[in-house]
Symmetry: C2
Subunit: 337 residues, 2 copies
């Protein structure tokens, strides 16, 4: 909302685009505006007496029959997803940072595309994978223009990228995880990162964007740490238990280094076969030189055959994710009419 506010005037003057915030809802309250929400929307929302209710919110938007309506879902829950189909079918576009809809069943995925086509609306979700990096849009374009995606390979989690990029001589895996958790780089429970499910969901979304029809269960997921460690009763216990893995990881790292390789948590889609696991990669692999929490995706297609199309950079963060959502909002206006 801050980014939109700062750009409103420039968009109006230089691009003739008039972006207005007509309603907002958080988990507690909601707020509508007849023209545009004022800069003090935050205090107004807090002071609002309308209790948050998604059904009422969606109903209110539909009833207003505003041209170029876009509903933006920045939650990470299933609740708003239930409204997508109706909104799309009634001509209201959806921009989702929330990846729940696209990582759900193929059946829901198909239904949403059908509703979108019926309603002449847009469903955009660039930030589902790699935050603001232009991944979904690129795969979408390749697919729309008749290129065939043969292979996608990459690191799709900034957190896991950070953990494995930090694994060097003299480091201990348990300390890296503990430190990252303390600094807020991981989920409060780091197992939610290490189990690989979030990466699998992102790979599922990319695979479907390529035109493959599959379910989350079709992806072979090997967690970043042996699954017996996942069963610890608390985060504290889990973090403590990781020290048992230090020697194991050090041996894996050393063995790889002897072969000129490094360990990376790699998501891979190869002619429709999808898996997620720790892999050794050599110096010719694009993920070899990754540093920090950068993510990377290498796309090999019919046209990009000899050398892949590679996109790399920060794949998480509030600023870049917000900018990705904002770009989708600008893209959503009126395209399919």
């Amino acid at each position: 909302l801050g980014q939109i506010e700062r750009q409103q005037e420039s968009l109006r003057n230089t691009r003739h685009i008039d972006v207005r915030i007509r309603g907002i809802l958080n988990s507690r309250q909601m707020l509508f505006a007849d023209h545009d929400l004022p800069a003090q929307w935050r205090s107004r929302l807090n002071a609002s007496r309308s209790e948050a209710d998604l059904q009422t919110f969606a109903q209110a938007i539909r009833e207003r029959h505003l041209p170029n309506s876009v509903v933006v879902d920045c939650t990470a829950t299933n609740d708003p997803v239930h409204l997508y189909e109706k909104l799309l079918a009634s001509g209201i576009s959806i921009v989702a940072a929330n990846k729940r809809a696209n990582a759900s069943s193929q059946k829901l995925y198909d239904r949403l595309r059908l509703a979108q086509r019926r309603g002449g609306s847009q469903f955009l979700y660039e930030t589902n994978v790699g935050a603001g990096l232009p991944l979904i849009g690129t795969v979408h374009d390749l697919n729309a223009t008749g290129d065939a995606v043969h292979r996608i390979e990459g690191t799709l989690s900034g957190t896991l990228s950070y953990l494995f990029n930090s694994l060097k001589e003299g480091t201990r895996f348990s300390s890296i995880v503990q430190d990252a958790q303390r600094r807020g780089f991981t989920e409060p429970d780091p197992r939610e990162d290490l189990n690989g499910l979030d990466v699998a969901r992102k790979l599922l979304i990319l695979a479907r964007e390529c035109g493959y029809r599959l379910e989350l269960r079709d992806i072979t997921v090997t967690p970043a740490v042996p699954s017996r460690f996942m069963r610890a009763r608390s985060v504290k216990e889990f973090l403590r238990s990781l020290t048992q893995l230090d020697d194991w990881f050090e041996q894996k790292r050393k063995d790889a280094a002897r072969r000129g390789m490094v360990l990376r948590y790699i998501a891979s889609l190869d002619h429709g076969k999808a898996d997620v696991a720790v892999r050794e990669v050599d110096a010719t692999h694009p993920a070899y030189g990754l540093t920090g929490s950068d993510v990377l995706v290498a796309i090999t297609t019919k046209h990009y055959a000899a050398s892949p199309l590679i996109i790399r950079g920060p794949g998480a963060g509030a600023d870049v994710t917000a900018a990705g959502v904002f770009a989708d909002i600008l893209r959503a206006r009126d395209r399919d009419r």
Copy 2:
């Protein structure tokens, strides 16, 4: 046209997009169709008795008042550029692989944007830089959402990338150029690649997309070989004279290698200051590991500050360029209405 033809049915069925080719013009003839050009457009065009005339062609398109008209310019000449303004102002979108318009004066650049806004049309040119790689669109989105591009750095020419990536111990610069020229990797006259002007034009287009106002002459261009070599009277003489540079290049390469660096032909935009030259880059630089004729662009912005957004891959080739043009055509329909 082949790519469009192969995708027409799929686009109609799965995306409700009906792409029709209503007219086509090459340097000799032109051809119109009332509905859609038949698959045998090539022979029909060759048999056409209408002599190619850009004014008549543009006039014919305007008079038909077709919704969502897009004119696609796949030439590399100035002739069609003169028609852009009138077409854009009359609501007809333009997709250009041709980079002449955007690399011309800032005045023309501004006039085209004004015409586009007046006409509610689109002007798209993703393939102006890096063929099908999502470069222009990414910079456009960063700019539209209020991010500020601080720095762009990269190799913008597949040809020059190839020449410098091939420079290794035991190679000779003159042989690399001669070989590349013979295999058609360079322009017929390799000086057109080596003078750096094509790279400067691409950098100019990227810089303007970031919002910087500048002319080609504001870019400091250092050719890839000393400029006195450019004055040879023929291609043959030029290629022969290059052998005088072999020792010089070998020394440069060795000096760089001693410092752990490699030579790359780098285009750089730094807070509005643009230059193009041979640079030494170290192993932490994204262009260090480039191979083959891949190009690469690293974008550092207010949001992508700690680590740049990097896009890399084949930046030339008929298939990927055509796909980039095709994607622009799909994007052009009706967005600003």
